[in-house]
């Protein structure tokens, strides 16, 4: 079944069933492997992408739900003002340890700043609670989000 997806500004006609998780299509069919598979049950946040500007867990979203809506992945989040600030702050603070969860962290952080340009610690906790980092980079993530907010 052919699905038309708009990912990072590019149209893709992909021949997949409409109930396949969006993540699988992004990684295996389109070849955008920056988005990671973590838990597969929307519990860790590693697979976060934006659909219609809203962060979603692509491991549980059927690709059919994303048809007709712009999808943004880590490969293009730097094209947005908030995404670029977040990525710069990530480098400046040197947030990443192993890095596996970080594309999801950056996608959630960018969505947070887009909705709330000056988040408090509580605001950051409330949104970033859905993204797990087994290296425990949480203090640096919080510092980087604050740095990115200041740069705005």
């Amino acid at each position: 079944m052919s699905q038309n997806l708009l990912v990072n500004g590019t149209n893709y006609a992909v021949d997949v069933d409409d109930d396949i998780p969006l993540l699988w299509v992004l990684r295996d069919t389109i070849g955008l492997t920056g988005t990671k598979f973590g838990c597969g049950i929307a519990m860790c946040g590693a697979c976060t992408v934006h659909v219609d500007g809203i962060p979603v867990r692509s491991c549980v979203m059927p690709v059919g739900d994303a048809v007709g809506k712009p999808v943004t992945t880590i490969e293009a989040i730097g094209d947005t003002a908030e995404g670029a600030r977040v990525q710069r702050a990530w480098l400046e603070i040197d947030v990443v340890q192993c890095g596996y969860c970080q594309s999801g962290q950056i996608m959630s952080a960018t969505a947070l700043l887009a909705a709330n340009p000056s988040p408090t610690d509580d605001d950051i906790d409330a949104v970033m609670a859905g993204n797990i980092c087994r290296c425990g980079t949480y203090p640096r993530i919080r510092a980087a989000i604050k740095l990115a907010a200041k740069a705005g």
């Binding site: 049950i41 929307a42 519990m43 809203i54 979603v56 979203m61 739900d65 947070l112 409330a126």
Partner: protein, 213 residues
């Protein structure tokens, strides 16, 4: 020695019985009352006193209201619980004023318009509904007695300004309420059906919307 053990046994039985009499069976709190089909309105016809019948009907309807599928999203705090044991939602989610979660981690980040099957996990599906959201703070039910839930349900300052007629419509036709009976694989459903439940609510209203003591 045998006499002494017998005396201890008798005292233990008396103490247990005394506690039971003083405290009563620990019912009345917002917990499900176990298995069994949801009774129909006609099952209450034998209660002649209208007020008593109204109270009994609400008690029965409360088996639905206090079922995990319903009360998990009527928490005492602004964070939902989940599962059959009503444990805190994982990940921690804090409902903002919208009851839809903060922008950046809204309910819809994980919950879609329909239940989503999961393959290869103990979690069989992720629940979903187009109206997925937490109940407003005024509709917190966890920790309340059934009588207190009843008072809340009919208090227009705490029930979304719903009239009794609105309550029947809400309980009987609301899509998110109806989801409880179609919760997706891996979750139990409340007893009965939305239709039976709505009939109980309608009968409760018709008999004066009395609340259990």
């Amino acid at each position: 020695m045998a006499m002494r053990f017998a005396a201890i046994a008798i005292v233990s039985v008396l103490a247990t019985a005394g506690t039971f009499v003083l405290v009563g069976p620990l019912r009345g709190y917002a917990e499900t009352s176990g298995a069994g089909a949801l009774k129909a309105v006609s099952d209450f016809d034998t209660i002649v006193d209208t007020r008593a019948r109204s109270k009994a009907i609400f008690e029965e309807a409360s088996r639905v209201l206090t079922h995990p599928r319903c009360i998990n999203c009527h928490p005492a705090t602004r964070s939902p619980t989940q599962g059959e044991d009503k444990h805190p939602h994982v990940p921690l989610v804090i409902a903002s004023n919208s009851s839809l979660g903060p922008l950046g981690l809204a309910c819809s980040t994980c919950h879609g318009p329909e239940n989503r099957p999961i393959v290869g996990s103990r979690m069989k599906s992720i629940p979903g509904n187009a109206h997925w959201s937490l109940a407003p703070a005024s509709m917190a039910w966890q920790g309340l007695k059934v009588s207190e839930i009843c008072q809340q349900v009919k208090d227009t300052s705490r029930n979304g300004n719903r009239s009794h007629a609105d309550l029947i419509t809400h309980m009987g036709e609301d899509h998110l309420v109806g989801w409880a009976w179609h919760p997706g694989e891996g979750r139990s459903a409340p007893p009965g059906s939305q239709e039976t439940f709505a009939a109980l609510v309608a009968a409760w209203v018709k008999t004066g919307a009395e609340c259990p003591d």
